[in-house]
């Protein structure tokens, strides 16, 4: 059994191929990254635990 299975229905050359699906996926990844960064803000600054920055801001009280 061959492990590669082209099963090609058509041949697309360099000029006929427009990677819109790739653009869509990468755009989605970018949005996820931005959302995660925003979320990180909450983890870093608004968490309950003292972190390096947190303890500075609160003067080491918390």
């Amino acid at each position: 059994m061959a492990l590669e299975e082209p099963q090609q229905k058509r041949q697309l050359g360099h000029d006929e191929f427009d990677p819109v699906g790739t653009l869509a996926l990468i755009g989605l990844y970018f949005l996820v990254l931005v959302a995660m960064w925003l979320f990180m803000y909450f983890v870093e600054f608004l968490g309950n635990d003292p972190t390096v920055v947190g303890s500075l801001v609160t003067g080491g009280v918390v």
């Binding site: 492990l3 590669e4 996926l25 995660m36 920055v53």
Partner: protein, 582 residues
């Protein structure tokens, strides 16, 4: 068109032999991984004495990220060079020579580590190397460990010379031709490796080995740490570049398409060559004794290093999409359904790539100088690199094995469904383990700790509980170990399987945009090497000078841990006694 083993039977044997060492290392490493997860989550108390944990952790780290990965990739590189130049190695003796050196080095270092499981050996006394894969001073290993490491690395250097030689001879016979892409990837990776290993060679040969032999009283820990990370960051790309190579060469082929762009692939490998090394200090953001300015430069270089990975994401996904559309896929997302998800090589690599995208996020957190403080040395960090080296690289290598083994043996893959289950199981297990490790790290749970529980203090989780995290980690680790076991079953089953005539040809489809579209300057390896060296000099001269200036070449002093010089003392005693009694 023939399979690899039909065309290059002798080389196929070399590659198989390298792969088998790699898989044995994987098996040992994975077993240790299981013990760690169970013990440090408190699910099963595996070790009576917490000290044993460090022997286990060192075994896990070294066998997986030094032995498993590098043994696999040298095999892949032999395949890439011989296939793309369409010529066997120049001198089979030399090839077996570096194979032998690497084996000898692996055996020495491996024995030194595993010997740590026994307290006192007859005759030779105490041998151990519980120094973790980062072997920082003042942790000290038996000299055999450092010696093995050095010999192993020299073996890889000679392997690189072997590939350069193949290319050189090919070039004389094919003047004016572009370097074939797979060979180009091997050569740029090896150039990067030569520069990177200089750091560890100096650290080991000039400081750590003489120190463990008792020739040097002390070493400067910050200096040897910095030299370690000079190597320790680029080694990451030494693992990753072969994985990328598989994504560039095998994924498009198996997806039924062609690589989107040869020039882009070349640019990516050149960027790795020039940017991999001058970034190592980003592992030392919390090291006192290196000024913030140098750390900032390392951070800037690191952020530039995201570029080639993002370029790779684009090129590889576009190549897969090309395959999917040739197979009749339609729509903005619908083409994903036309991909060959039933093929374990494809699915494994695609899932590895997906996990790598998640690792990209936690990597960006690690890379930021300020936000790194939040996660430094916490469980987050192993969470991160089990996505990168532990999945993007490891799962890609395992998936690639399902394509390689039939090529290298002429035997049919033992069981495709089992292979498919294996790669999916890895993905599921890692999702549990890595995600929970990240979260545990945010609570402040430390890495490299046998029993992270303390009197009068408890970690508090904002969401969920520490117990829930521990269960996820233990569950994930168990699924991962099961996945490795299945992998080994498929490998052994294939090695014992019958010969088959239906194995596809060992051929790589032409890229959509070929080498004729890439500027000639991309193949100017000398130019890129010089630029790489200049960047390293710029990034490291001042930090190293200031470290040596402040702490001295041999450091301010201090005690090594543990004192593992017993062996030498005993051997010296035996030698003198022997001499006297004669």
């Amino acid at each position: 068109m023939s399979t690899y083993v039909e065309r290059f039977p002798a080389e196929a044997k070399v590659i198989r032999s390298a792969f088998y060492v790699s898989f044995v290392s994987l098996a040992i490493g994975a077993l240790m991984g299981l013990l760690q997860t169970l013990h440090r989550t408190g699910v099963v108390e595996v070790f009576g004495e917490p000290g044993t944990y460090y022997t286990v952790l060192t075994t896990h780290g070294v066998f997986l990220v030094i032995a498993f990965t590098i043994w696999f990739l040298v095999g892949v590189f032999v395949w890439a060079v011989t296939t793309s130049l369409d010529r066997g190695v120049e001198n089979l003796r030399l090839t077996w020579g570096w194979y032998g050196l690497m084996s000898f080095g692996t055996a020495l270092a491996g024995i030194a580590i595993l010997a740590g499981f026994v307290d006192d050996w007859p005759v030779v006394g105490d041998i151990s190397a519980d120094v973790l894969f980062t072997f920082y001073a003042p942790l000290q290993a038996h000299p055999m460990f450092y010696l093995g490491l050095a010999i192993f690395i020299v073996g890889t250097w000679i392997a690189g010379a072997d590939w350069f030689r193949s290319w050189w001879v090919w070039k004389q016979e094919n003047p004016g031709e572009r370097i074939p892409l797979p060979t180009f990837m091997v050569l740029t990776t090896m150039l990067m490796w030569y520069i990177a290993t200089l750091g560890v060679a100096v650290a080991v040969l000039a400081f750590l080995l003489p120190w463990s032999l008792g020739l040097l009283e002390t070493v400067n820990p910050l200096l040897t740490r910095t030299l370690f990370w000079f190597f320790g960051h680029p080694v990451v790309y030494f693992w990753l570049m072969p994985a990328y190579m598989m994504w560039y060469l095998l994924l498009p082929k198996i997806s039924g398409g062609r690589l989107f762009s040869d020039p882009l692939a070349r640019v990516v490998f050149i960027l790795f060559l020039i940017l991999s090394v001058p970034t190592g200090i980003h592992h030392q953001y919390l090291d006192p004794g290196i000024s913030e300015g140098f750390k900032f430069i390392a951070m800037t270089n690191t952020m530039f290093l995201l570029l080639p990975s993002l370029l790779t994401a684009f090129t590889v996904v576009a190549s897969m999409e090309h395959g999917a559309r040739q197979r009749g896929g339609e729509g903005r997302f619908g083409w994903l359904k036309a991909l060959p998800w039933g093929n374990p090589t494809f699915t494994g690599m695609a899932l590895a790539g997906l996990m790598f995208a998640a690792g990209g996020f936690s990597g960006m957190i690690n890379a930021g100088m300020n936000i790194n403080y939040l996660v430094h040395n916490s469980f987050w960090v192993p969470g991160h690199f089990h996505l990168t080296v532990g999945t993007a690289v490891a799962l890609t290598f395992m998936a690639a094995t399902y394509w390689f083994l039939p090529q290298l043996t002429g035997r049919k893959l033992f069981s495709r469904p089992l292979a498919l289950v294996q790669v999916v199981l890895w993905f599921v297990g890692m999702t549990f383990m890595s995600n929970a490790m990240h979260r545990a790290g945010l609570l402040g749970i430390p890495r490299r700790t046998a029993e992270p529980w303390y009197d009068g203090f408890e970690f508090e989780a904002g969401v969920g509980s520490v117990g829930e995290l521990n269960i996820q980690i233990a569950l994930g680790g168990t699924l991962l170990t099961l996945s490795v076991a299945i992998f080994l079953v498929v490998v052994i089953g294939t090695a014992l399987n019958g010969k088959s005539s239906e194995i596809g040809a060992n051929a790589i489809p032409e890229p959509l945009s070929g080498p004729e579209d890439s500027p000639l300057v991309l193949d100017n390896l000398k130019l890129w090497t010089v630029i790489a060296i200049v960047l390293v000099v710029l990034a490291y001269t001042l930090p190293l000078a200031s470290i040596i200036d402040r702490g001295g070449l041999l450091g301010p002093g201090g005690r090594a841990f543990p004192m593992s010089l017993d062996t030498l003392v005993v051997l010296a005693q035996l030698a003198t006694e022997g001499a006297l009694s004669r």
